[in-house]
Symmetry: C2
């Protein structure tokens, strides 16, 4: 396969802020006005770090009191915000808003699809991507690697190896490291889940957990209800297990349409399980309201089918208090809870876990027969990380940085994309589910974007039924937000041109 | 569950060698005679290290030439042997031999069994074992942990983490670390396998590889031919995948009976795959001769079915030149090759790999859908270990130590077990497949041994058809060979008593 080189993205670097404030105002107000203009004119961009207090005092020859006052003015105007131990950052401007994404048509329930070759569709896209290794990645599923605590994890691993030299040689415990499982059980209380260490089986990432859950409750040929749009990895897993996927519409703001599921349970008595991402659905980025969560659990319990909860993004939600998992409403073992630390802590550590509800013993058997215990090292590192405040500190910082990235991306999207583009800002995390004008095919857009040097995920892979052919999923990219702006500008020009060509053809 | 305490094993410690050699012989012969007697009388036991040259010279006040000559005499008599960089070790005496294990009855082919609850049988045994946590372990599947290169692996991991700080945070490559796969491909030439790095997918241990192979070539309800006796983990995997196991007799000296398989392929047209451990079969410990390997591959190719080769023990065989894998005879992609480094290098590193023959792309899809890529760290450690001579050095030492352990165990077995016990010494590795007198039930023996404080694996778990109810699998245990001797003495007394009771009842 030939690797294609692409035009590199070259953003303009912002210069120094202009210096033309009225002279009769107090100095701190003059300086605040200067920075306000810099932010409004885009010289300082959302997500950028403001000068440190020390740098500000030196640059403008002012006292600490003046510097502090200037920043307070900007902070009150919601132009900048303080991050503990990191300094001040520019926020996004309020004007950046697109119309909200359309709500789904609940009347249109496609038939349950068994083998539709979703894996070959995805493989074709992946092999396309591999031809452009240099392309700027707006199509990934994890945050930028510099947002994960590389140093702290490296140090924890070095300590663990020194303290326990046999970590690599001695076989680990069958369900996973007992100390780690104890810590996870305590932490699960935050999500409203009351379980003990023995109720937890460590898995190779969240995807192994979901596979084990599916294998425990289905036979090949069975039907599984999924959200639509649906994370393509789940569609692949269903296909690889010989299961049928029944796509239930999901709202961009509240997730799975409970009434549509209720209807489907009556019309499709062969449904054996429902798989839901309740917190920051992939790709929608929405959070299911508590009342929906309660109804969903009750519905599945009444129908006597398994509710498989895939919950790896919960801790990325911007929320004053922790969100609850579906499992919190479970009273009879209906909910199988699957999650991982891949998205929140470290994509390189394949550490997930599962609590199997009333299928827990069978899942334990399947895990043992399929891949035995997990490696010990990453479990020990994780246990250490979770036991101190390091994980919470990291999560707070990660959420703050991702929010700034999202605000900046939303502004760029609104500024560059053509009329007809719709988008509901996500409740946290990294995914942007963007509805392009109906005339723009996401497959063609994917190809054209790649030739421009930018990776996106086309909507075609989020459904077996071709429902999202004019959607794309973008993800918060590199922490170089100028590059991201430039990429979104190019994508916007592309979408505008494609929409214009389509309407010229129609005219 | 209540933990039971057991009588600790307390072996006699050997004293100093006696000093009563005839005075008219050359000094080196006198000293050799003295050590010969010590070895023959069991004062120095097989597997024990001889005094170093320096210690020998000091103890007996002799020159280096005399010391060297004494050891040469003992070496020529096959009483001791030199290990490079480790010194001299006592070998097992020739007299230690039991009658060879019976050859299987090829006429008796049981029906293919689907769900027979082998997993619950094994679970019952495991929960029994957990009640005796202090028991001496002759039932395990890996060598003693002090035979694995803990220090070197720890150092390699520390180096890897320092050199590549993002090993834990950045996601790994999809099929596994490319550098490691390149090294493995080169090393595979030793086994007669010609593949490239892209033909290799890293897996979570060998068991994930075998599961993927089975999933790639079967549907639930299909029949898979296996060796009988068969590693119980494979029977569990088959049961968990809803497959039927057809047990083909295997010879204790040459493994799978090819003619019986040939017959079965005609009578069972629903056989979709054959799973074979060609080198050091578990539990038989035998190696399939090259001519059988060639016929087996040809037979499967002709029948158009997959031959799944599980080959984790190949490098533990005592052999002047490397043994070949079944894959070496494959010309059309019939053989799926599965292996791991768990048994040879480090039970704590879950690193295996698979080459899927003509099913390779499908296996790649299944692996991605099931558990994504492996963690990077252990792969990078392994790559470093394989690239230097460290792995080969470790293997040589491991094979030598295991051989001494086996010789010593075989001697203890022959000395302690009752008439009617049969046993074919394995060609390497750690497993002893022991046929007890027909009247001794291995389930009862397992219980009684556990109460004596010793773990063994009963023959009942190596067949779905109850074929091996008077067999046990023992494995080379701790490197404290005196403790092992004492454990085998106790087991021998137990077997003798059980056999005696049975014949008293019969009389």
């Amino acid at each position: 396969m030939q690797a294609h080189t692409v035009k590199p993205l070259e953003p303009l670097k912002p210069g120094k802020p202009p210096n033309d404030a009225p002279a009769d105002e107090p100095l701190y107000r003059q300086l605040a006005a200067q920075y306000r203009r810099a932010i409004r004119h885009g010289v300082l961009r959302p997500g950028e770090r403001m000068p440190s207090m020390r740098a500000f005092m030196q640059r403008h020859g002012v006292s600490l009191a003046t510097a502090t006052e200037s920043y307070r003015v900007l902070e009150r105007e919601a132009l900048i915000e303080a991050h503990p131990r990191s300094g001040y950052f520019v926020r996004a401007l309020k004007s950046a808003a697109l119309p909200a994404a359309s709500e789904p048509d609940l009347a249109s329930l496609p038939g349950a699809a068994q083998f539709v070759g979703i894996h070959s569709t995805i493989s074709a896209i992946v092999s396309q991507l591999q031809r452009y290794p240099e392309a700027f990645n707006l199509g990934g599923a994890t945050a930028s690697s510099d947002l994960y605590p590389t140093d702290a994890l490296q140090k924890a691993a070095l300590r663990a190896l020194r303290r326990r030299p046999t970590l690599l040689t001695a076989a680990g415990a069958e369900q996973g490291d007992p100390a780690l499982r104890g810590i996870i059980a305590r932490r699960a209380l935050d999500a409203g889940i009351q379980i003990g260490a023995d109720d937890i089986i460590m898995t190779h990432g969240g995807i192994e957990a979901v596979n084990l859950a599916l294998r425990a409750v289905t036979q090949p040929g069975d039907t599984v209800a999924v959200e639509s749009p649906c994370f393509f990895g789940l569609l692949q897993a269903l296909e690889s297990l010989g299961l049928r996927a029944l796509e239930i519409p999901a709202s961009p703001s509240t997730g799975l349409a409970i009434e549509a599921l209720d209807f489907a349970l009556h019309t499709h008595p062969d449904i054996k399980a429902v798989v839901v991402v309740p917190n920051l659905q992939n790709p929608l980025g929405c959070v299911m309201p508590d009342s929906h969560k309660a109804r969903l659990v009750e519905l599945c319990a009444r129908a006597g089918i398994a509710l498989i909860e895939d919950d790896p993004y919960r801790e990325l939600v911007d929320s004053a208090k922790p969100l609850r998992s579906l499992k919190a409403w479970d009273t009879d073992g209906t909910v199988i809870h699957c999650t991982s630390f891949n998205k929140t802590l470290a994509p390189g550590m394949r550490v997930g876990w599962i609590h199997g509800g009333r299928w827990h013993p069978r899942i334990g058997m399947l895990k043992f027969a399929q891949s035995r215990h997990n490696e010990q090292l990453s479990q020990v590192v994780l246990a250490e990380f979770l036991e101190t405040n390091a994980y919470e500190r990291h999560l707070r910082r990660l959420r703050e940085r991702l929010r700034l990235q999202r605000e900046r991306m939303a502004a760029a999207l609104a500024a560059s994309f053509p009329e007809g583009t719709r988008f509901t800002p996500p409740a946290g995390g990294i995914f942007f589910w963007v509805e392009l004008p109906r005339t723009v095919s996401s497959a063609a857009f994917f190809d054209a974007a790649l030739k421009e040097g930018i990776r996106v995920m086309p909507g075609t892979v989020f459904s077996n039924a071709g429902r999202f052919d004019h959607f794309i999923r973008l993800s918060c990219p590199s922490t170089d937000l100028d590059l991201a702006d430039e990429a979104l500008r190019r994508l916007g020009r592309l979408a505008t041109a494609m929409a214009a060509r389509a309407s010229a053809r129609a005219a």
